[in-house]
């Protein structure tokens, strides 16, 4: 193909064509006609040939681009695997690929060290927190304190606890994002839910709540048992905490888990509550991280989580896609 093209585009080829034309111009008509045929047939063939060749090349280039797109689509910043671009027959694409690999590695490196920093910082915070908490606890034992001073200490202690809870929740989030829960097993949501409800027994009794359990069929998923526990605990805790009625409802079906409770009208869209630090109330207990952890865990296992409000019933549903 290449040789053929070289032949047709060679200046000598054009020169001889021109010579032929000039000769036949001064000759009788039918010969002239023949000459036109002789000249134009190869020209048409040549154009058609060129068209096919160019088309093929465009197709090839398009394919190469698609391949790059595909490779880029598979890219996950959390999975430490080097991007693998296919070797291309066009040097320019290979150059582009090399550039992309380099760029991605640089971004990944920055991203990871950033993440690492957050995690280390959170970890390092636990020790100073322990020291503050311990010293406040020591001060509490002092017999000379007046009520005002003790009150101040109580506030210090409460907020240190809050801070340490917040901190360990952030560590948890970062661990989920780091894929630090690799062990997966078949988790039965019915079994897990019953276990967790047992932990909440006192809280439920205290608030005189009725828990309606509606188990249609077991929802079984292969996931980390720890994360399943956190997922269900957060959803149940959420339902109990924001409940405005006398009962909460837990439904488990073949492919979903759902909690339902009576709640207040929301000022924001329900979906936005999956974002970090988004809170409905000024409830001191709520860190505003529970649902974002739920969301994170769901994303990790390809589950869909939705928050819908019908009348005054708040429904959180986790389901298999």
């Amino acid at each position: 193909m290449k040789k053929l093209r070289q032949f047709y585009t060679h200046p000598l080829f054009f020169a001889s064509l021109l010579a032929l034309l000039l000769i036949w111009y001064f000759l009788p008509v039918d010969l002239y006609f023949t000459a036109i045929l002789i000249v134009f047939i190869p020209l048409i063939v040549l154009t058609l040939g060129l068209h096919i060749v160019t088309n093929r090349r465009i197709q090839l280039i398009r394919n190469q681009l698609y391949q790059i797109f595909q490779t880029l689509e598979e890219f996950d910043i959390d999975i430490p695997q080097k991007m693998n671009f296919m070797e291309s027959p066009f040097p320019i694409f290979n150059e582009l690929n090399e550039y992309l690999v380099e760029l991605i590695e640089r971004i990944r490196h920055n991203y990871l060290s950033n993440k690492q920093f957050t995690q280390n910082a959170s970890h390092e915070l636990q020790t100073p927190l322990a020291i503050i908490k311990g010293n406040a606890e020591m001060l509490l034992q002092s017999p000379n304190f007046k009520e005002k001073e003790i009150e101040a200490l109580a506030i210090i202690l409460q907020n240190t606890n809050r801070l340490s809870k917040l901190n360990s929740t952030l560590i948890l989030l970062s661990k989920i994002e780091h894929h630090r829960f690799p062990d997966a097993e078949q988790v039965s949501f019915i079994q897990k839910t019953d276990e967790i409800l047992n932990h909440f027994k006192d809280l439920i009794r205290m608030q005189k709540l009725v828990v309606e359990k509606n188990y249609e069929k077991d929802f079984v998923i292969e996931m980390s048992s720890t994360l399943a526990e956190i997922l269900i605990t957060n959803l149940i805790q959420n339902a109990i905490r924001h409940n405005q009625g006398d009962n909460i409802n837990i439904t488990i079906g073949n492919h979903y888990f759902q909690t339902m409770n009576k709640g207040k009208k929301l000022k924001t869209t329900p979906e936005s509550l999956f974002n970090r630090f988004k809170r409905v109330s000024n409830n001191e207990e709520s860190l505003g991280l529970g649902l974002s952890i739920v969301k994170r865990i769901c994303t990790l296992y390809n589950l869909e989580v939705s928050y819908t409000i019908g009348k005054d019933m708040h429904v959180l549903k986790v389901m298999k896609l």
Binding site: E124, L129, K133, G134, E137, M138, L203, E284
Partner: protein, 225 residues
Amino acid sequence: MKLLIIEDEQDLLNLIIRYLKKEGYLCEYAVNFKEGYKKINNFEYDCAIVDLNLPGGDGLKLVQYLRADNSQVGIIVISARDTIEDRISGLNIGADDYLTKPFNLSELNARIKAILRRKTNQFSNEIHFGDLSINLEERKVEAGGKLLQLTKKEYNILVYLARNKNRVVTKDSIAEHLWGDYMDNAVSFDFIYAHVKNLRKKLAENGCGDFLKTVYGIGYKFQTH
């Protein structure tokens, strides 16, 4: 009772020592892996409190040495690592208990006492205060010779407060002791209040002195004098 505390953070170390000395323990300490290793090799302890992130090595190794050296020693790991996997590996290697930072000193104290009671014969299975006696083995409480009918939670609160006698124990720390993370504070405080009220009533009905003092806004105190 001789304790060894291995912790590299000086402030935390001092705090723990100060708190435990008041309980009448003899406290020795090490601030890094090497020192800890030396102390373990040269002396005998009743209980060791080991931090995991130490300069010069992993605290888990020290736990291993401790266990190999003396099967009777009580070992409590204190660490900022808080996953279930970390706990399991700590307990598997020979620790008796695992506390995550930041912990309540009253919790640490209660756990040391629980371990020492299990591990050594020097600790009595019974706690006595005036007319009140608590049998830890059988989980029974008697007041003036009469057996009290306590719920599990009431019993746990009583023992926790008794183990930290004459100290103010915060509501937070009681809540954490009873339920871990499964309770909202506001609700659990109401719950603790109700339990303590019942406990007081049961003690009073059986002619037991009022040991349980309320420290307003903070928590409770088991007062013996």
